[in-house]
């Protein structure tokens, strides 16, 4: 049976021009969704859909997603200061979604990377983060490859339904084609709208570049330098605890939090 896959997409932001674009990770979420269920894939976006939508930058971007080969796309109508979590979780539940794919974090807005976690919490579903690929979905279980630093992968299985955030290590989104994008239909859907109380009181200001700590390169050989340049951040002093008791594991985490001054 075809699993019911839904990809969620947001409006991206080009790092150089600041212009709206197809977000890199959401594009990958869409690509992965197309791989999993082809033309059965559902794609949704929560955002503004009013009289100003036609011809807007948002429409252009959504049509870029659609240009990857979608006949239609769902727009959950939300005003710009709404909290999209209730709307999204209502929609996902109503569609009996089984696999929900989305980028790790948005390129615009708060860009906190919290949406997938808040969704998982509100739906009570498991979340797998930084997925590189979904290998198979069988008997209510999915085999998922997680992306680790330096091209490593970890294979995990997760029961449906679940939420997966898609890492940059996932296959690149295919090229968007203008014609199909222009012809795609938007289905606007009314969903509960909840004002984001916290956020409306925020004041936004352009970020100032923070002073950077100078990187002391200790590498002696070219291979080491290459490693230093390409490695993702990783604690050198970490250790893997597998056989210890839960008590010991918890203690180790607790000690670390105190050591890093996260709790006092």
């Amino acid at each position: 049976m075809q699993p019911n896959v839904i990809s969620l997409v947001s409006i991206g932001r080009h790092p150089q021009s600041g212009r709206a674009r197809r977000s890199e990770q959401d594009g990958r979420a869409l690509e992965l969704g197309l791989k999993l269920s082809g033309s059965h894939l559902q794609v949704a976006h929560a955002g503004a859909y009013d009289s100003t939508f036609s011809g807007s930058a948002e429409e252009t971007v959504l049509r870029q997603y659609a240009g990857m080969g979608l006949k239609q796309m769902t727009v959950l109508k939300q005003s710009s200061d709404a909290d999209v979590i209730p709307s999204l979780s209502h929609y996902l539940e109503s569609q009996s979604a089984q696999v929900v794919l989305l980028g790790v974090r948005a390129e615009s807005g708060e860009s906190s990377g919290m949406v997938p976690y808040l969704l998982a919490e509100s739906l009570g579903w498991p979340i797998v983060s930084r997925v590189a690929d979904i290998v198979s979905i069988e008997n209510g279980e999915a085999e998922v490859l997680l992306a680790l630093p330096r091209g490593q992968r970890r294979s995990v299985t997760v029961t449906l339904p679940f939420i997966a955030t898609v890492d940059n290590a996932a296959p690149e989104p295919r090229q968007t084609a203008y014609g199909p994008g222009q012809r795609a239909q938007f289905n606007a859907v009314d969903t509960p709208e909840v004002l984001d109380e916290l956020r409306i009181n925020w004041v936004e200001a352009p970020a100032k570049p923070r002073p950077k700590r100078l990187k002391v390169i200790k590498a002696k050989t070219a291979a080491e330098r290459f490693k230093a340049a390409t490695a993702k951040a990783q604690g050198g002093s970490g250790k893997v605890m597998k056989n210890e008791s839960a008590q010991e594991k918890a203690q180790a985490i607790f000690d670390l939090l105190i050591e890093e001054k996260v709790i006092r």
Binding site: H14, Q16, S17, R21, R174, Q175, T176, Y178, G179, P180
Partner: protein
């Protein structure tokens, strides 16, 4: 003669069949999209276009042009007279003698066709084309004998049954080729379709020495963008394909073919004919597409029909993406066929409908859309190159004598050297110049040639909108590709921003400054110099002279390459070819540098930053490569105030 009614009956039958074929063929063309033409004036202008425009191209091969005048002219005249004398039975010695004379002329021409066909160069198609000289001769001889009685040389009724039967058989054979074949797809089809193509050409401006090189805008927001199947072409494009004589001049000129990339413009046009008529390429008897990957596509395996998607079995996408849009084929084609239009039309389908631009294509297009430059640099850093140049920006000054269109070379360190040289020359000549600064955007050249006309049109409109805010008399640019867009393609978008504005390439403008004595130049002493004509300056815009005159003004005697001027060989940098990067056996840029080495040049002068990049990418040892602006700046005598 017992059967003396037989020849005229045969002529009448073949003629009827030919008319049926013509109607059928015309209906094949009419399956294409509408494209308005003026039928009457087109037909009236046809003979002049044949004698002037077509022959202008054929003239480049003196042997062939004389041969064709004799054979073709002789045939047309003879055919007309055959109808008068043998079908309508006009009884006139004068006509009969005229017929004899034209047949002699035709026969003489046919002998030369025969000679060429004895050892044909590889660019010519073989197959049915090999029997054509024989058919021509048969025609001439048969009707010569048949006309002798009418001319009074032989008494009426000469000959016996046998002779009449033999002559009748020969009439069938030769008229079968000349009339029936003309409309049923034989080699003589070129005369029928070619004549009508001259009358109804999609670019009428090309006749009478004109130039029409800008691509036509794609219709946006339609069911299918670009050309997916043969009937998506305009009807007169289909007609144009049918006019091909398979002379292979385009093949001989095509840089992609020479580099062993899977493109042969002649085969491409023949494949279009297969598409419009339906069938396979089994009967094609010319060179095929080179096959560097060893895919081993069998002749006959290319299938198509008017309503089938071209890239699904008739032509491989790589063939379309190998083209550098250099227009060498179009320039050389005696039938004035528009290969580049067709190629870009089909690319539009691949990009805008299928999203299948190969290699870096998708990334470049995404960058252009999001940052207005192909490499995705911050738009706000476009003017960084000019930080020390003290240049006026239009936003501040609002008007200037000259607007310098910088182009995307602004982001490239090598190209910036050309830009700086040009600015220095402008300043030395005290030109009132300004730039658009960060308000300038990519011209859209690459997007358009990659088939993304939506993005091109969007950029063009936004650039025009910016330009319309300011006042200037002249736009000058160092980039022939941007030059071509601004000059020949921006006019289609209903803006008056460029009305009464002269768009110039920097070599043209600098040449004016030098001729007006505004720049004083020293003599160049750097050895032998050759000049590479950029396609988008030369073939696209007809500017061959200004760069050479500039070089002469520094005392440089250009050591011309064998392929220069309108026959210049492309550097491989156009049409997005470096982006789609279709593998071949050689690189086009290497071949071009080889051309230059044959002249013993120490320096290749160019007039294009893209050519500079392509040619400099060739491994040393090779001649040095510099833009004319850079050469000029070194010879500039600066006046001390």
């Amino acid at each position: 003669m017992i059967f003396d009614w037989l020849p005229s009956v045969l002529i009448a039958i073949v003629l009827m069949l030919a008319v049926v074929g013509a109607v059928r063929r015309i209906s094949l063309w009419r399956a294409g999209q509408p494209s308005p033409v003026n039928i009457i004036s087109g037909l009236m202008a046809m003979p002049k276009r044949y004698l002037h425009d077509l022959h202008h191209v054929v003239e480049r091969d003196k042997y062939m042009s004389r041969t064709h005048v004799a054979t073709g002219g002789g045939f047309v005249l003879a055919m007309f007279l055959v109808l008068c004398v043998h079908l309508f039975g006009v009884d006139s010695k004068l006509l009969a003698w005229a017929l004899l004379a034209s047949l002699v002329m035709m026969f003489t021409g046919a002998i030369f066709v025969f000679k060429r066909r004895r050892n044909p160069p590889s660019r010519l198609s073989k197959g049915p084309w090999m029997r054509l000289p024989k058919s021509l001769m048969t025609f001439a001889v048969t009707f010569f004998v048949l006309t002798l009685p009418a001319a009074g040389i032989l008494p009426d009724g000469t000959g016996n049954v046998l002779l009449t039967l033999v002559l009748s058989a020969l009439i069938l054979v030769s008229l079968g080729e000349m009339l029936f074949g003309m409309t049923w797809g034989g080699p003589m089809k070129h005369a029928f379709a070619g004549a009508l193509h001259l009358a109804f050409h999609r670019r009428q401006e090309r006749f009478g020495g004109g130039r029409s090189t800008g691509l036509k805008p794609a219709d946006l927001g339609v069911e299918v963008h670009g050309v997916s199947k043969p009937t998506d072409f305009k009807w007169n494009q289909l007609l144009g394909f049918d006019a091909c004589v398979q002379c292979g001049r385009c093949e001989a000129m095509c840089p992609a073919f020479a580099a062993g990339q899977p493109l042969n413009p002649k085969k491409l046009i023949q494949d279009m004919v297969v598409g419009l008529a339906g069938g396979t390429d089994a009967n094609y008897a010319g060179s095929h597409y080179p096959d560097p990957q060893g895919k081993g596509r069998e002749p006959g395996s290319a299938k198509g029909s008017p309503t089938e998607v071209i890239t699904a079995g008739l032509v491989d996408a790589e063939t379309l993406w190998s083209c550098t849009t250099c227009r060498a084929c179009v320039e050389e084609c005696p039938m004035m066929i528009e290969h580049v239009d067709a190629i870009v039309d089909m690319r539009r389908f691949l990009t805008m409908e299928k999203g299948e631009t190969p290699n870096k294509g998708a990334e470049v297009l995404d960058n252009i859309i999001a940052t207005d430059n192909p490499n995705g640099y911050a738009p706000g850093s476009r003017t960084n190159w000019a930080a020390d140049q003290n240049l006026n920006v239009m936003r501040d000054v609002k008007k200037a004598e000259v607007l310098f269109w910088v182009s995307d070379g602004a982001f490239d360190m090598r190209s910036q050297r050309i830009l700086r040289s040009f600015v220095k020359l402008l300043k030395a000549a005290n030109v009132d110049v300004a730039i658009l600064g960060d308000e300038e955007r990519d011209s859209g050249d690459v997007a358009r040639r990659l088939g993304d006309d939506a993005t091109f049109q969007n950029l063009a409109k936004r650039n025009l909108q910016t330009l319309s805010q300011y006042e200037f008399k002249t736009i000058v640019t160092t980039d022939p590709h941007a030059f071509h867009c601004l000059r020949n393609e921006y006019g289609d978008f209903g803006s008056d921003a460029l009305d009464n504005v002269e768009v110039l390439h920097h070599t043209t403008y600098l040449n004016r400054l030098v001729q007006d004595g505004k720049l004083k130049l020293d003599t160049f002493k750097g050895g032998t110099v050759t000049y590479h004509d950029p396609c988008y300056l030369g073939r696209y815009n007809g500017e061959y002279e200004a760069p050479r005159e500039l070089l002469r003004s520094m005392g440089i005697e250009v050591a011309e390459m064998e392929r220069s001027g309108f026959r210049s060989r492309c550097c491989g940098g156009g049409g997005g070819a470096p982006i789609t990067d279709i593998p071949g056996e050689k690189r086009i840029a290497d071949m071009r540098v080889e051309d230059a080495k044959e002249t013993q040049a120490d320096l290749i002068a160019v007039g294009c930053q893209q050519c500079t990049a392509m040619l400099e990418g060739v491994v040393e040892p090779r001649p040095e490569i510099r833009d004319i602006a850079e050469i000029l700046v070194d010879q500039l005598i600066e006046e001390v105030h």
